[in-house]
């Protein structure tokens, strides 16, 4: 339980640092719910990613974000106009967002340990509801921004 709380705190801190530093957003967090509920509640299409990792803990992160929000993120991130955002830019932005949040989570959790991060990949939104084995712990965070909500899930095991 203690480890899970640390993971939740590390993920929360990481999301704050990444979105506030590089996307200039203020955020609020909600730890209730899960990815399935989040998907069902969304009234627009969602983009999703997965990033695997191993180290003292192994598992993966899923990130789900409404298409309109990733469009805005890509505009802000790359400093381009709305009509210049392409599907490639959106995919690149959500992958980099996932990469930064995952890497920063482990820096926050334990800067002394080495974690190997995989390459982030875009996945079908339905894959994000996958759970780990019985021995896995799962942390779900709903992140509220001024533009809407996005969700991050971490599945961890030893």
């Amino acid at each position: 339980m203690t480890a899970k709380m640390s993971l939740k705190e590390a993920m929360t801190t990481s999301i704050s640092e990444v979105l506030e530093t590089m996307f200039f957003m203020s955020l609020e967090f909600d730890y209730t719910g899960n990815m399935k509920e989040c998907i069902e509640a969304s009234d627009e299409s969602l983009m999703a990613t997965r990033l695997d990792f191993n180290g003292p803990l192994k598992g993966w992160f899923n990130f789900a974000i409404p298409d309109s929000i990733i469009h805005t993120f890509a505009e802000n991130f790359m400093g381009i106009e709305k009509d210049q955002v392409t599907a490639e830019f959106k995919e690149g932005t959500i992958k980099e967002l996932t990469n930064m949040i995952a890497g920063n989570t482990f820096s926050c959790l334990d800067p002394e340990s080495v974690y190997n991060l995989g390459i982030p990949e875009v996945v079908d939104i339905a894959e994000t509801v996958e759970s780990g084995s019985d021995a896995s712990g799962e942390v779900f965070i709903l992140v509220e921004t001024i533009d809407g909500s996005l969700a991050l899930k971490g599945v961890f095991s030893k």
Binding site: F77, M100, N104, V114
Partner: protein
Amino acid sequence: MAVNILIVDDSMPMRAVIIKTIRASGYGAATYFQAENGQDALVQLRDNWLDLVVTDYNMPDMNGLDLIKEMKKDDVLSAIPVIVVTTEGSQKKIEEFMEQGAAGYVKKPFTPELIRKKLAEILGEMSDDSEDEFEGGDDDLDF
């Protein structure tokens, strides 16, 4: 002073962000080259005269650490400073980058100020209008 800078990152948006940040740091006169991974970077390094490499660590085909190792094997490329910009935050990894010859390290997420500071350490302070500034005026120019 115009400099040639190679940005190595498999994320195209991140390459764009790094270029935008470096430009905003007063290096607007620089020429930017781009590569998607270490292998691609080595080709660029052998085809162009470059003054600085800014590389990610975690990339497919060849990561940033292997790129630095390959550069150190080459007499010419080994003299080019490399800044690692990455999400890798463990002390061991940072030490490994520096031991292998990285000139500097910036952790993502980064602020423009952090990038500017690191560039200033390595390339020296400069600004977009630096070419117009001669402290001694025309009298000191010897043709």
